[in-house]
Amino acid sequence: MKKYPPLVLQPISAGFPNPAQDSDDVPLDLNELVIKHPAATFYMRVEGSSMEGANIYSGDIVVVDKALEPTNNDIVVAFIDGEFTLKRFRREADRGYLLPENPDYSPIEITADSDFQVWGVVTYIIHKTRG
């Protein structure tokens, strides 16, 4: 939701232009950094350890953007075999793969028959370090 900047006005001086006048006096907003397409952005909670090689851990929150088209090496949320899955998307020639980031897990090949859908592309991972 758009916030209005506070009504703080720089005093207008007749002489020198104030370089600070052009800069935003708005406090940094994490939403603006992290959410490029608000209408298409959703959060999901990670469960499981197959993406630890990409520094995504169980309990993390991923920011998922449905507006983005998945490109090679994106981390995506896919819906496969009846559940949401977090994997790295890899496209090679005419084949697609959903790769884990953990040697204990195996890759999933996507074929024309796969009951598969990329739900959205992960843009940020929120990992809590304390508490």
Binding site: A40, M44, E47
Partner: protein
């Protein structure tokens, strides 16, 4: 034009200020000629909206029979296409338990917070497409795009549909036409005609006529259940038949309201767009309606309240304001054998313009005062305690400094209660967090409004 009263679908709308939209005026540099552009209306209608919202987080339910039930009396208020043959609109859960089990129909209790959130996302996408927009209900909006230079309306409509689908997962139907009534007809046809792939433009006569001949007259916006049989009696069976009728004649046998509808079918814009937010009111935003057919079931009233909430919240956001409280009312009016008025007001802890939150509160208010089925004629919601958007920091849980005002309010409430009988005016519970759940055992999670209830993704 001020104070026009228009009826359609059996309902009566009061356009307090009908803006004369003449579109963009282009001045010819040479001769200073003003050219008024013709209006182009678009209706965007989400397909089986509540079900579609549930499917967003449950893609496993695509192409499966799914229904969503009203909060309190468990009546089906949204059904997937796969469920429609088995469950009629308004079907009470308990009567259909065996079919639900036999056909493996998944059911949810309505999750208005979620639906409101998704509705808001869709509206924000639509706002990128059109300069003028009127949110009609939680899942429907009118756009006016006459001032845009668009060569291929169908292409434009397809792009819009695909954009909404990709970003929010919600499939919508799009109808484009020179009047609202025609655009509504186009959407009806888009839903029924699979070859249209969800988008239909009635800007061209040939396609329009083709479809109007196939659209039954009872599916035209403005033809109620009473009018349709009378029209059949005159041999008017299709929308096309109705468009060929003389509007003066129709006015004589019914009303000026139907005459306007016929003119709209003929391509003459009579309604305009309700965009009164362009003249923002500082104190109240209301969304009310007089029902053509009296509302006697709680789930119907609940749906109406949900619609009004979405409408009002949208107006609020367009005015860059937040509301501190919502009031709802429903009345049978005076011309009723059994008179009843119910009212309730719920304040918010924090001022908001969020559709989902406001809807949930409005329905909570309704639930608290709804006791019996009466034949309600009119209902509405009001958003008050409006503050500018940037005043979001203000907390409302502090005691009001103006005790005199509050005393006055209590006095008025007492008077009303006396006049109409006890319990007609309630100051419903204040500052309720989330403790009201009553019969919503089958609600899906608050996927988009509660950090503890995020959808899970397996790694």
């Amino acid at each position: 034009m001020v104070g026009g009263v228009v009826s359609h679908g059996g309902s009566i709308y009061c356009f307090l200020k009908k803006l004369k939209l003449t579109g963009v005026r282009k001045a010819n540099a040479d001769s200073d000629i003003m050219v008024a552009m013709n209006r182009v209306y678009v209706v965007i209608d989400c397909n089986n909206f509540f079900v579609s919202c549930e499917r967003l987080f449950r893609p496993d339910l695509d192409k499966k029979p799914v229904i969503v039930l009203s909060n309190n009396d468990g009546c089906a208020v949204s059904r997937s296409n796969e469920a429609k043959p088995f469950i009629p609109m308004g079907a009470p859960l308990f009567k259909y338990e065996s079919i639900i089990e036999a056909k493996k129909i998944t059911y949810f209790s309505a999750n208005f917070r979620l639906y409101g959130d998704i509705s808001q996302r869709i509206m924000s996408i639509l706002e990128q497409y059109a300069p003028y927009i009127e949110q009609y209900s939680v899942d429907e909006a009118f756009l006016e795009i006459g001032s845009l230079s668009i060569n291929d309306y169908l292409e434009w409509g397809r792009k819009l549909r695909s954009h909404v689908l990709q970003w929010t997962g919600i499939p919508v139907s799009v109808g484009i036409a020179p009047t609202k009534t025609l655009a509504k007809a186009a959407v009806e046809r888009a839903k029924k005609d699979e070859s249209s792939r969800g988008v239909l433009s009635f800007m061209g006569n040939k396609i329009r006529t083709q479809h109007m001949k196939v659209l039954p007259v009872e599916d035209v916006w403005g033809v109620g259940r009473r009018l349709a049989p009378r029209l059949h009696g005159y041999g008017i069976r299709s929308a096309h038949d109705l468009s060929r009728v003389d509007s003066n004649w129709i006015q004589q046998i019914t009303s000026v309201v139907s005459a306007r509808m016929v003119k709209e079918l003929q391509g003459i814009d009579c309604f305009g767009l309700d965009i009164t937010y362009n003249q923002p009111s500082k104190h109240t935003i209301a969304a009310t309606r007089t029902f053509g057919k009296r509302v006697t079931a709680q789930f119907e009233l609940e749906q109406a309240i949900a619609s009004f909430s979405a409408r009002a919240a949208h107006k609020l956001r367009r005015q860059h304001q937040l509301a501190s409280e919502v009031s709802i009312f429903a009345t049978t009016g005076k011309h009723s054998s059994m008179q009843r008025t119910i009212k309730a007001r719920l304040p918010f802890d924090t001022a908001t313009a969020d559709t989902g939150f406001i809807t949930e509160k409005a329905i909570e208010a309704l639930t608290q005062v709804y006791d019996q089925d009466f034949a309600y004629k009119r209902a509405g919601i009001m958003l008050t305690g409006l503050v500018p958007e940037y005043a979001q920091q203000l907390s409302l849980s502090q005691p009001q400094p103006n005790f005199q005002q509050r005393e006055e309010l209590m006095r008025v409430m007492d008077q009303v209660n006396q006049k109409w009988g006890g319990h007609t005016l309630n100051m419903a519970a204040e500052g309720v967090g989330g403790s009201w759940h009553s019969k919503r055992e089958h609600t899906s999670k608050q996927y988009t409004t509660n950090w503890e209830q995020l959808p899970k993704v397996k790694a």
